[in-house]
Symmetry: C2
């Protein structure tokens, strides 16, 4: 416990993160208050991260905080929502030093500055087990305009933003299974540790996308989530995978490039968006993404049927589960 | 993991709890949607429970679910809010049997029936540590009408609902430190395991209370939370503590009844409400509580100063911290 109690930590380290937001009530009350503007719906998402399972043990707590918030905001981005506020529920490992907790609060402070978001509540406790962080993020969307997983239609294109597979390679670098140039190492580990939620794309999604999801389980698995929810099948063209230069250099070193691409498309943590967009609107959608500072690429399409088919060079590839189940 | 994965558990056991609520999106999407009526504010509260810290190890998971939801709704009750929905974030102990998880889902099903509430989201994962359950509950209140901790004024009476101390004795019974009649044992353990959130009192609170809190840390500590937040002091009359017949029978067996009352007023988990009510409105407030099926009693008052003073028979009693800090 190292001397400072729950109330002290909340008052000294968390309450300042709530200072600018009246409804947080200084984190001193039984609950928080949040107003939603007329004609808007609230969008709520929650994720639980467990040390050793969702992030490596001994990761800097500040980085964990920043990634946890980014990952939640990525869920809001996938719904085409604008973020409003967030809450944290934390179980510290018993006996964790005060510095551990202040590093976490420092990371939250940085992250909420990035997104101009207030902390509005939550709690902290401790337990004889791994560190657990649950974050709940709140956003808003014009009523009825949230982009769901279930809206894909036959012949919609599967569009993915940004680059896929960097986080997979970042983990290899962090675990010393891959040693690229220091520049590539920094880029890849950065993409693993600090994903960029695609929040600026909300209006483009609302205007053009039938369905969307953020890529957290792996592109193949997440494209399949859209297909399942929409009662369709999806085909993914492995050769169209948008790769960073760093990922391309890794790929060049692999003997079986098809297996290597499959690996990149099956690992999660990209926090890019995968969207179902009607063919006629793809060009407009891609142009709007570029205005938002992000590339998009067509990597497949939705069709009658079920499940996810993966093609490379016109041939079917056995994809397995295509994604990671945390359980 | 015993065979069934995260997706299966969510689909088979949690999704049915969300079936009646469109914005839950079948628990299949990245986030949930919640509408708030015009002129209302959203009230949000979250609590994290850790096995072995907040409840005894080997407690029936169904009971844990029911108490966890009740405790969160108690926070909404303290804000004078009407509950709308809830989310769960769960870390199962690695290797917990499927029956453990289904018992938890059964408990949630019972609890949400009691309060006519839908589950709208959350997640489940597992970890090599104790079982962790975080519940986030959502309510609404007419804008500006939430009852805060910070509104108490000088000479307001401290009113408490129901009975104080039953949960303290329920724990003694559960831990075999106290063996009353089987009827008292059942009552006291029931009060520990299944508190009754005082939701029907929302309108009375909005109409008459300057401040309120739910008694989770102990009556003395929680009255002091109101006093601190309001920039006042509070005096608590220990002899006015509202006791159940079962608690009274326990008290009769104690040598030092003052120390015994202090113990009941210092233990948490009562989930009654402590309110600051202007003296002129106390009778009306108590009458409205009775209409809501709950007794209330004046047990103290707020005044200039700081901290909590405890009196018994006109004499000051040393109360110590007066409440439990989870950390």
């Amino acid at each position: 416990m190292s001397g400072k109690g729950e109330f002290d930590f909340i008052r000294d380290r968390l309450a300042p993160l709530a200072a600018g937001f009246k409804g947080a009530l200084g984190l001193k009350d039984d609950a928080a208050l949040l107003s939603v503007r007329a004609g808007r719906e609230l969008v709520i998402t929650a994720d639980t991260l467990v040390e050793g399972r969702h992030f490596l043990k001994d990761t800097d707590p500040a980085l964990v905080a920043r990634k946890a918030l980014a990952a939640n905001l990525s869920d809001l981005a996938a719904m085409a929502a604008r973020p409003l506020a967030y809450m944290t529920n934390i179980v510290w490992p018993s006996g964790s030093p005060e510095d551990f907790r202040t590093r976490f609060a420092d990371g939250l402070a940085l992250a909420q500055d990035d997104y101009a978001l207030p902390l509005i509540g939550g709690d902290t406790t401790s337990g004889d087990g791994p560190w657990v962080i649950a974050i709940t993020a709140f956003g808003e969307v014009p009523a009825g305009r949230a982009v769901l997983r279930s809206g894909a239609r036959i012949s919609d294109r599967l569009v993915v933003t940004g680059r896929i597979g960097d986080a997979c390679l970042g983990l290899k670098v962090a675990q010393k299974q891959y040693q690229p140039s220091s520049e590539d190492a920094e880029y890849l580990v950065g993409r693993l540790n600090l994903p960029t939620p695609r929040l600026p794309l909300a209006e483009a999604l609302q205007a053009h996308a039938h369905a969307a999801i953020d890529v957290s389980d792996g592109l193949i698995a997440d494209a399949r989530h859209i297909a399942d929810a929409s009662g369709l099948g999806v085909t993914i063209e492995l050769d169209e995978l948008p790769l960073s230069d760093a990922a391309r250099r890794w790929l060049d070193e692999q003997d079986d490039t098809r297996a290597a691409r499959l690996q990149l498309a099956s690992f999660g943590d990209d926090y890019e968006l995968a969207c179902a967009v009607p063919e006629a609107r793809v060009d407009t959608f891609l142009a709007e993404l570029r205005k938002g500072g992000v590339d998009g690429r067509v990597v497949g399409h939705f069709h009658d049927g079920t499940g996810a088919a993966v093609l490379s060079d016109g041939q079917a590839v056995e994809a397995g589960a295509g994604g990671f189940t945390h359980f």
